[in-house]
Structure formats: structure tokens, C-alpha cells
């Protein structure tokens, strides 16, 4: 970035001098140090900031809550942080329609609180990604982050029904809308989910909501046997019950199955599981204590962090090869074959080998290792082509996506 002072003036003219500042060490993104942090107030200012950045050939990294800024490869260039902190608030919440529209800088926690407290309705966006307290909606979408609820409700991909966004040249785009069923136009929002900020700055998102359940029951199976844990999870999957959560924790040696339903619905389903395939039902304080102890266990602590995926049928094989202590924490969703692992950087090769041997994928969220099981060359070429059409100058988070995109 050349002529910092004059560039700062350019951005001050757009957002006001109060909302531009010189960057400091805390603003670095995986080692790349930006020169300035700009906080536009709305979509229009985002467009003006991006247009100015493009004109001055500055690379822009978008930041929400900053909780997952270390996910993805280091940016090859990073001149400006575009903070979405002022682009916040709920635009529209139609509780009877189970739909809400919120600005991208709104934190998930603020949204959930509002949804749970609307008079006459208790609702929730069924996402429980890591760092959910400080994470913003835009960040959750851009990183495709999800948690335990994924087993039943999916990822942001499944719950986003519309989005507004700004391209690097200032073009304002929109796709979807605020109705759940809608096939008008390309589903551009799908491309933004997991795009790591490389295609556009997301400004507004419409989500499908679900009612908050009135009760929950948790069944756990404790075992040191990987086979027993996996067999239990598979058996739950074959039963005609509808758990919200089926998580496998290692080294704890636990499968946690949670039913969210009516009082009776949760109770009856939990009892069926314990009666037919085993495990023990938790309630009340036990349940809360267990859930709290496990929440986010993969995300806390030091080391490298990776998301992995294998075929559900190969979860046991994968876990067996990892259970010998190469990972500090493994949290798997065995019915989907997905999960997260945290490991010392020295064990990276062993982790990669375990995943490769089980025919899986390893996407590094935090760390410098090469991912395992990436796209084929033609698909990569299409991805580059999409990037070129939407951000030809490589302004937005260059290099953060796979393949150096």
C-alpha cells in the first residue's frame, strides 16, 4: 500500500474519519499486516470503500467478529481490513413465518437472544458454530461454520435463504429472498457460504428459523472402545428417532445423543434409545453440565485445527487410527462423517495420513499444512473462473481459498 496518508483520507471521505484507523499488530491476518481498518456503516459505504480500494489496488480482508480470521490460508496480500461491526441489526423478523433478515455484522448471540425473546414466539437459528458468542452472521456464513446441530439442521448452506453482498468493483448483488421456497435466479448465496471472503462482502442475510424446542433429553454412551461407540451411533441412525445431536468425543470416549422436542417427545425417544440399544439418559443439571463441559472442546486450546470428513461408514477406521494419541481432541458427527480435530503441529503428518487412509478430506482451519482431498483440476478451474468474473483484480482476501484463489 502506497501513500498511506492519502489513502486514509480517501476512506475517511467515505465513512467519516472516526471510522478509519491505522492498523496495529492485533489486526494482522495470519501474519499479513494490513495498513488500515475501515468500518463502513452500510451497504452503500461498503460499495464505495471497495470501489476506492480497487482503484488504489489495495487488497481487502473482511472481518466480522474476528473469531475465525485464522481459518483458511494466509492472504497473499492484505492492505485493508473492512470491518462489518457497524453493519448490524435485525432488518426483518416475521416470527409467524419463521424467517428473519439481519445485517452481516450482527452477532449470532444478539440474533439468538432476540429470536428467543419475541413475544408469543420462541425461535432460533439452528446453528451452533464455534465461538458463537462473538461470531457474526457474515463470518459464520463466509466460513460455513456449524456445530453439533448440524446432524439434524445442517450448515449455513441449508439455512440461508437469501443474501445481499457487494463485489470488489462495488456492484451490489442479491440472491434468494425472504421466502423459504424460491427458485428464481442462481443461488449465488451458496457460492458465498464457505467462500472465506474471497468473492464478495456479505452485507445482509435471510435465514430460515426453527421453533425452540420446549424440552430436551440427552443419552450418553461411555466406552473406551471405538467399535462400541461407532456401533452405538450407527444404531441410533437406524432407529426411527430424530435426534438433533449425535456427537462422538475422543479422548473422552463418549457418544452424546440429544433429543429436542416436546417434554413427552424428548422423554419417549430417549427412553427408546436406552431400552433398545443402551446408553444412559441424562436430565436437568447433569445434562447441562455435560453439554457445557463438551461445548466447543475442539476449538479451545492450542495446536492446529482441522475440519475433516470421511464416509460415515469409515468413521471407526479413522478414529481407530487417531485414538492412539496423535490428536488432543476429536469431535465427530458420525452419522455425517464430519468433525473437527485439534492436534500438535508435530503430528500433522500422522493426522493427514489417517485421513487419507480412510479416504477422507482434511481442511486445515488453523495451521500451515496442505489439505487432503481437494477438488479435481476441472472443478478448480471453474472455481478460478468464478473468482475471475466476480473479483478480476483479486482484491478480496486473495489466496485464502484453496488452490491459491
Amino acid at each position: 500500500m502506497v501513500a498511506t496518508a492519502s489513502n486514509l483520507r480517501v476512506f475517511s471521505a467515505i465513512v467519516g474519519s472516526k471510522y478509519v484507523r491505522a492498523a496495529n499488530a492485533d489486526d494482522a491476518v495470519r501474519g499479513a499486516s494490513p495498513k488500515a481498518v475501515v468500518s463502513p456503516a452500510d451497504e452503500e459505504e461498503v460499495a464505495a470503500v471497495l470501489t476506492a480500494a480497487s482503484t488504489h489496488h489495495l487488497a481487502v480482508v473482511t472481518r466480522g467478529g474476528g473469531t475465525k480470521l485464522d481459518w483458511g490460508a494466509p492472504p497473499t496480500r492484505c492492505d485493508l481490513i473492512l470491518s462489518t461491526s457497524r453493519i448490524e441489526g435485525i432488518v426483518d423478523h416475521e416470527p409467524a413465518d419463521l424467517v428473519c433478515v439481519a445485517r452481516a455484522g450482527t452477532t449470532l448471540a444478539v440474533l439468538q437472544e432476540q429470536l428467543a425473546s419475541t413475544a408469543g414466539f420462541r425461535q432460533r437459528l439452528m446453528l451452533d458454530p464455534p465461538h458463537g458468542d462473538a461470531a457474526t452472521l457474515g463470518g459464520v456464513v463466509a466460513t460455513a461454520a456449524s456445530g453439533s446441530l448440524r446432524t439434524r439442521f445442517g450448515t449455513p448452506r441449508d439455512l440461508v435463504i437469501g443474501a445481499s453482498f457487494v463485489l470488489a468493483d462495488g456492484t451490489v448483488g442479491r440472491s434468494g429472498g425472504k421466502v423459504v421456497k424460491n427458485v428464481a435466479g442462481f443461488d449465488v448465496a451458496k457460492l458465498l457460504v464457505g467462500s472465506l471472503g474471497t468473492l464478495a462482502v456479505i452485507t445482509e442475510i435471510a435465514f430460515r428459523l426453527h421453533p425452540l424446542p420446549s424440552a430436551s433429553r440427552t443419552v450418553v454412551l461411555e466406552s473406551r472402545s471405538v467399535d462400541d461407540l461407532c456401533a452405538f451411533a450407527r444404531a441410533v441412525g437406524r432407529m426411527q428417532v430424530t435426534p438433533s445431536v449425535v456427537d462422538l468425543h475422543w479422548p473422552e470416549g463418549l457418544v452424546v445423543v440429544r433429543f429436542d422436542s416436546s417434554e413427552q417427545g424428548a422423554e419417549v425417544q430417549a427412553k427408546r434409545v436406552t431400552a433398545e440399544i443402551g446408553g444412559r439418559a441424562l436430565e436437568g443439571r447433569d445434562e447441562t453440565a455435560m453439554t457445557d463441559a463438551l461445548a466447543g472442546s475442539a476449538w479451545q486450546g492450542s495446536g492446529d485445527l482441522a475440519a475433516l470428513a470421511v464416509l460415515p461408514s469409515r468413521v471407526g477406521e479413522l478414529l481407530t487410527s487417531m485414538s492412539g494419541g496423535i490428536c488432543d481432541t476429536v469431535v465427530l458427527r458420525p452419522l455425517l462423517g464430519t468433525g473437527e480435530v485439534r492436534f500438535p503441529p508435530a503430528e500433522a503428518d500422522a493426522v493427514r495420513a489417517a485421513v487419507r487412509n480412510a479416504g477422507g478430506r482434511l481442511l486445515i482451519k488453523r495451521g500451515d499444512e496442505e489439505p487432503v482431498g481437494v477438488a479435481d483440476d476441472v472443478a478448480l478451474d471453474l472455481m478460478r473462473s468464478v473468482k475471475r468474473r466476480l473479483d478480476p483484480a483479486g482484491t478480496l482476501s486473495p489466496g485464502r481459498q484453496i488452490g491459491g484463489i
Binding site: 416475521e94 416470527p95 409467524a96 413465518d97 419463521l98 414466539f121 420462541r122 448452506r157 451490489v172 448483488g173 442479491r174 429472498g177 425472504k178 421466502v179 421456497k181 424460491n182 427458485v183 428464481a184 435466479g185 442462481f186 443461488d187 449465488v188 451458496k190 457460492l191 457460504v193 464457505g194 421453533p211 425452540l212 441412525g237 437406524r238 430424530t242 416436546s262 413427552q264 419417549v268 427408546r272 475440519a307 470428513a309 470421511v310 464416509l311 460415515p312 461408514s313 455425517l336 462423517g337 464430519t338 478430506r361 489439505p371 482431498g373 481437494v374 477438488a375 479435481d376 476441472v378 472443478a379 478448480l380 471453474l382 472455481m383 468464478v386 468474473r389 466476480l390 488452490g403 484463489i405
Partner: protein
Amino acid sequence: MSGGLGNAVLKRLRTAVGDDGIITAPSAVRTYACDGLTGRRVSPAAVVLPLTTQQVAEVVATCAEARIPFVARGAGTGLSGGALPVAEGVVVCLSRMRSILNIDLDNLQVTVQPGVTNLEVSKAVRPLGYFYAPDPSSQQVCTIGGNIAENSGGAHCLKYGFTTHHVLAATFVTADGRVAHLGGAVRDAAGYDLLGVVIGSEGTLGIVTEVVLRIVRVPESTQTVLAAFSSMGDAGEAVSRIIAAGITPAAIEMMDRLAIRACEETVHAGYPDCGAALVVELDGPSVESAAFLREVIDTCTASGATEIRVAAGDAERALIWKARKAAFASMGRISPNYYVQDGVIPRTRLRDVLEQIDMLSASYGLRVANVFHAGDGNLHPLVLYDDAEAGESDRALELAGRILEACISAGGSITGEHGVGSDKACYMPKMFSPSALGVMGRIRDAFDPSDLCNPGKALPTPRLCGEVPGVYRPHPAELAGVAERM
């Protein structure tokens, strides 16, 4: 004979798919001139019927090199003209690629070729206790490839989601004839979710030649309720209340008096003669569906239901659904012609928009039968008219357009499941700004810079929609085309 394809191209196509895989005789290609939107017809120069991914890739590469437009086609049941051929172009018909390649119960996945019909997938896994959730009304004939192009829904997508939620991976022939693998049987493919944007792109980005689908466990219990109301408004109110109460039924379908009468004439399912009927289906663990059933009955009663029946068993349930799914086909009983509209509104606006449709129907002097997926606000008003009456088809089209405008003003969409195709491309600017359409155009360009893959569909073009892009005016040519359709 075969238009302007030229001998070299024809020879190469023939080599790719074999003598029995290519149709060029004008009388024979005419069979492929339209899809379910039967009034718009264009005969292609040739139809090819490939058997493998490699054959599709070779056909597409041949077309791309010769700059010949090509249009993929499944069973041709689409209702928006998405498979309308291009004159002088090639139709790539995937109906011979109809094998179920693998059923993997351990991973709840089924691998199929695109010509497999929707229902065949469920039939294959039903005996094992599983099903494929998306269930468009045409599921007996429509293909998985077409479902992917349209992101098809169906009655049960209220609970189970759309095609996009049930496709894990696809083998994809790019617009220049290369083969890519999108998504994956192993979840969380790296990079951009290209599969997510290909699904629902109406065949404009490339051709899917093999698909991995997710299958779902058959629920323990299913309860089906048929509730009669004196008016559509009351029934709409019941729908809003059911959704607001936090119940997620597997399906909520609504039919008005006209639709009920038409279906009764064909199916004799014993629907009551009433202003509006709701079909509410609840499934899941018995304990949940039983509790929700009581709540739904109470809610319907509180909303003024005049009669409530709970299907006593599978046979009764099947009959209720048979009538509902026969709705479009039954219109012939009550009207010489009809036009199916497909609009979406927020569920909370049902009463309001249904009243507007009533008023529009009265002011145009044309009957509108309503049969639709009420649970997700997806309306299918059937505008009834008589082609033999001068000007009536134009009025019907105008009325259908006014209904769409009402949907857009209510905060909804111009299509919930039938797609934009060639039918509604010119309505897109009513829903999206020129810059938003521009972004979609850039994505189209990223996949198919030569504009050969199903050109003119899904997105508006100046040629189709008047010379000023982004501003909708009913173009004389468009009106003429529509008049022909009616």
C-alpha cells in the same frame, strides 16, 4: 434435414453416440420441440441420446467447438420451458442414462444416472426402510437430472427441504466438454460450492451426468388430516397458525372449491364439497406425530374448520394424495384450457394474497382454481380459459402476470419450483435489480463464456425482453409467443 449442423458435426455426433443415439429426421425431432410448457415449440436440428458421461462430454465438446447451442433434457415435464430447444441447436436427451448405479445403505447414499425418475429412487430403497425425500407431483416420470436443473421441491419439501438439500455429489460436464466432480460422497468438499449454484441453474451452467443422492429413514408414523373450511381465507389462517405454533408438518396442501370439484370428478377421493380443503401430513416418531396431530386438529377447529377427517390407514392416505397430485391433470374436466402459475408468498400473507387473487379473477371474468403447497407459501393458481373465445388467452396471461405481481409485492418470489425457464425470464427484473442480475450473468459467464449451454433461459436477455435490459416491458414478440402457447 438437420438444419445447419453441417456434415462434419453430424458425423462426429454420430460417432460419439452411435447410430441409434442420434435423431435428425424432422418428424422425429419434433417430439422434442417442447417440454411441459406445450405452447412454445422449437424443433432442434438434432437430438442425441448419450449413454455415458464420456458420450455427453464428446457431444458437448463437438457443439462447443462448432459454436452450436445445446439444451439438456430429461423427461420434458418442466413447466417453464426450461428444456425448450434452440433452432439449429442440439438437444442432449439424457433419458437413456437411467441406471441406479449403487445403493450404499451404510452411508445412506444412492448413485444414479440423470435419467432415473424421481420415484424410481424411492422405490429402490423403500423396501429397505428409506426414501428419497423430494417428491414433485410429476415424480412418476420426471428425472433426477431435471430435478437438479430445477431444484425441484414437492409437497414434502416443507419439512425435508429441496433437491439442493439432498444431492451430495455430481459428475458434471462443463460447457466446453470437460468432466468435473462437484461436491462429494464424502461431505465438505473444499473450495466454492459449485454444486450449490449448479442445482437450480436450469441447465445453463453444464450437464450433470451422474449423481449421488442422500436418502432418508422412513418415519415411524405418518398421520394425514383432511380439513374442510368454508373459505380459502379461513384455511389460510389455519396454515399460518400451524406454522406459527412451531409445528413442522411434512406437508400442508390446500385446494379451493373449484380444484376439489375437478379432482373429485377424476379421482373420487371423497373430499367434502367445501370452500377450501387442507391436507396436513405429520410424520416422525409416533409420540411426536400424535401430539402434533392433536394440535393441528385443534388449530383447524379454532380457525373454523367445518369437517376434519384423519386418514384411517395407508389406503385412505394414498387416496387423499392421489386426488391432490391429480389436480393439474383434472383441470381438463372443468375448462378447455388452463395456465399454471407458480408464485411464492410469505406464509403470513396467505389470506391477503388469496383475496387479491379472488378479486383479480372477478375483475378479469376468468375462473382461477387454487391448488398449492400452502405450508411454504407456494401458490399454484390455475387460470382457466377457453382458447376458442377471442382474446381470452391474452386475458388469462395478463391475469397470471398480475398474480405474480401480487406475490412480489407481498415479499415473495416469481417461482417456487417450476423455474424461470423461457417463460418467466422477462419477469426476473421485477424481482432483481439490474446489478443483481448482472452478478448472476457473470456467474453464467464463468461457467459458459460462449453462451451455448441452454441459452436464453433463467436470466433475461435484451433479445427476449426488449432492448433495454433490466426493465420489463411485454415485448410484442413475447406476447406473440405466448399467444401461440395458449
